[in-house]
Symmetry: none
Subunit: 222 residues, 4 copies
DNA sequence: AATGAATGAGAATTCATTCAT
DNA sequence: CATGAATGAATTCTCATTCAT
């Protein structure tokens, strides 16, 4: 009956629901990220959130629900931050750069939570898992739109855009997944710059290269 | 005392250890891949392997050990198959192509196990986790050597090779991690071909392009 | 961090802790005494106490903890009953008699638990074992004080008091340890009387013997 | 069918039975004494004895059997050593002294095994337990005979001999049971001397005292 | 006779979930 | 709404015992 993307609560007041859930999910995110889903107990979450065990069950049906909302929140971060960063950018190439950098930054800010996404999505019930995947797809589409705009404007040569977008996503996630290998070798900004060098610039047309040079001169792009 | 990369057994005979462990790990790989580490019980593994619970503990110290050997085996597959595939290839560019395709093929053959790597490495004790990471690093170096040879021979322009190798790795892993999105859109061979188009060819020098054309004509590369 | 003499609980309310622990320890004492520590399962204890298995783990860290508190309680009985019995006694000789009789009576009341002390102290972790031994030492000192007072007052001739006190302790414990041999031959009171005949009276001075006669006449001592 | 004091074996040759059993029991005694019956595994015993697990089951029906024979052996030590020590002694008083000292010496030599007697007798099946108790009773009778001879000869005044014998037994056992308190305070010989002072000499008649003096002068008693 | 791999029942412990207060 | 004590099914791991070699 319930849509797979909805979480049921025993409490009526929506405002309180919002507050409590955030409180709980914040604690859960921390603990799930640190120790993983199965090693984190409801007790742990309650303690971390400074509330009682029972209260969690007022706002979530079960532990799976908590995980679901936790993962959903990570994706929502992606979905919110990228558009926010894009607001000030107009030029298609700038928008692509900005989107990529924004993605890497969210990942950086939520390193552990991003890893959690990889570790724990499969722990969800199948229906829930799909809702998460859709969220990821939506984020991908944000990047895809930027890339396509560049192609449409003739800055990037025609290519398998959807696959390249996947590569962008993986590149961003890698900052979290392979932090043990990457951090220490690169700063975040260097990492983004190198990524752009490998995953964007090779595909620029002459027009694209010229535009990039201009954008760099006007300091719209580092 | 034990090195972190060794698993202890109560049984002396090395031949039997090898057989039994393979039997157990085969079962574990299947179940861990399907249900994840924590939802798979020792009972499950014993049943799947057709042996008793107690016997597992004759060949593994604990459940963590089973996971460790399972993950180690996945990495060993990587480490074995890529060199094997490279044996017949001589030309640096051919070797790079072959290595990449071999990697994607192992991943394809061990799709679930590869996902397991991402999900469950963190479930290991820290020391073990590092042993796994080292295995991954060794695999990366195989690709790195191929890429560097291409650069040294002037087929690929100088670039951030270690980061590009990471893109190769991620690209290969993605075939397992994002199978829900990629399969149905590409056959494995198409996927590899597209990858090469995005992650190798843009970086070829004139010399490299010429060599590639020759290799294709002589059907050394599809 | 924890002192060796403290048992940890997940429950906060001290009153409830007291009640539940008593309930559990009562059950444990019965079962440990009957079947020994290792043959008694936590299930058994839970069933005997009329509660669930999990609840035991809310009030005790592990099975070792239950044993520890059980043994500690036996010793506390010793430590409480002897001083209580002494309250009404003033004359040094009377006090010695009373203390010895009180000791034998506690042992009689807790026959099985006393045996448990001998059987299971070694099952405790070393730190705990010492805490138990200290409890025993404290009890011994109660007797020692009585004996020394008699010597000081000239009722008992100077002798190796600490060793004689050990003999008193062993004599009392024997009532439990060797019940299969002693009960049926003696009533508790006879046993005590005989013990006094062997372990106290031979050491009385003339003054002591006179005092004893007076105390018997006034029925302060049977 | 089997008598409670017999242990069944699958092996026919009695000589071999004797050897193997001794080998096994020696290992078991060590381990049971150190760790107790339940914490010692058959594996442990096999390893300590340098044989295979299966072999133990050729010479013992089950683990209980091993414990039984182990305890029986301790008692047999008592039963053998005391008469052996008595062989050279003739005078009743000397014999009592010698017996007591011999008892303390066996206990000293088998400290841990003596403690084992107290810890683990109850772990035996009831029938076996009785066989052990009978062994203890037989040992007691050895002492009892010595004490009675002293009384009959007028060296010791008439008294509750069986209870005093128990005190002797307890006194000897205490050397093992309370070693944590006694060792360091006394050497074994001092301990025996003090014990004699408390548990024998007070009961000597004038005749007994004279005899004792003579025996000491002739160095038959230290 | 001897071995030791294999079995599986059984034990301690954990933890998601409930519910009386 | 909020609490946290109570439940008990489920899990990991152990170990006495067997039996094919």
């Amino acid at each position: 009956m319930r849509s797979p993307g909805t979480v049921h609560s025993m409490v009526a007041d929506p405002k309180r629901i919002g507050e409590r859930r955030e409180q709980i999910v914040r604690a859960a995110t921390k603990l799930f990220s640190e120790q993983g889903y199965y090693l984190t107990t409801i007790q742990d979450i309650a303690r971390e959130a400074g509330i009682s065990v029972g209260l969690i069950y007022q706002y979530f049906r079960d532990k799976d629900d908590v995980l679901f909302l936790t993962l959903k929140l990570v994706l929502e971060n992606y979905e919110n931050e990228i558009p926010a960063a894009l607001e000030k950018a107009e030029h298609p190439l700038e928008r692509l750069y900005v989107a990529l950098r924004a993605y890497c930054r969210v990942v950086d800010r939520m390193r552990d939570a991003t890893v959690l996404t990889y570790r724990s999505t499969k722990s969800l019930r199948a229906e829930r898992r799909n809702a998460i995947k859709e969220g990821e797809t939506r984020t991908n589409r944000l990047l895809e739109a930027c890339l396509r705009a560049c192609i449409a404007a003739g800055h990037v040569r025609p290519l398998n855009d959807s696959l390249l977008v996947y590569q962008y996503v993986l590149f961003s996630h890698a900052w979290a997944l392979k932090q043990w290998a990457l951090r220490g070798r690169y700063s975040l900004e260097d990492y983004v710059a190198e990524g752009v060098g490998l995953l964007v610039e090779p595909f620029l047309t002459d027009k694209g290269r010229a535009a990039l040079a201009r954008l760099r001169r006007s300091r719209r792009i580092p």
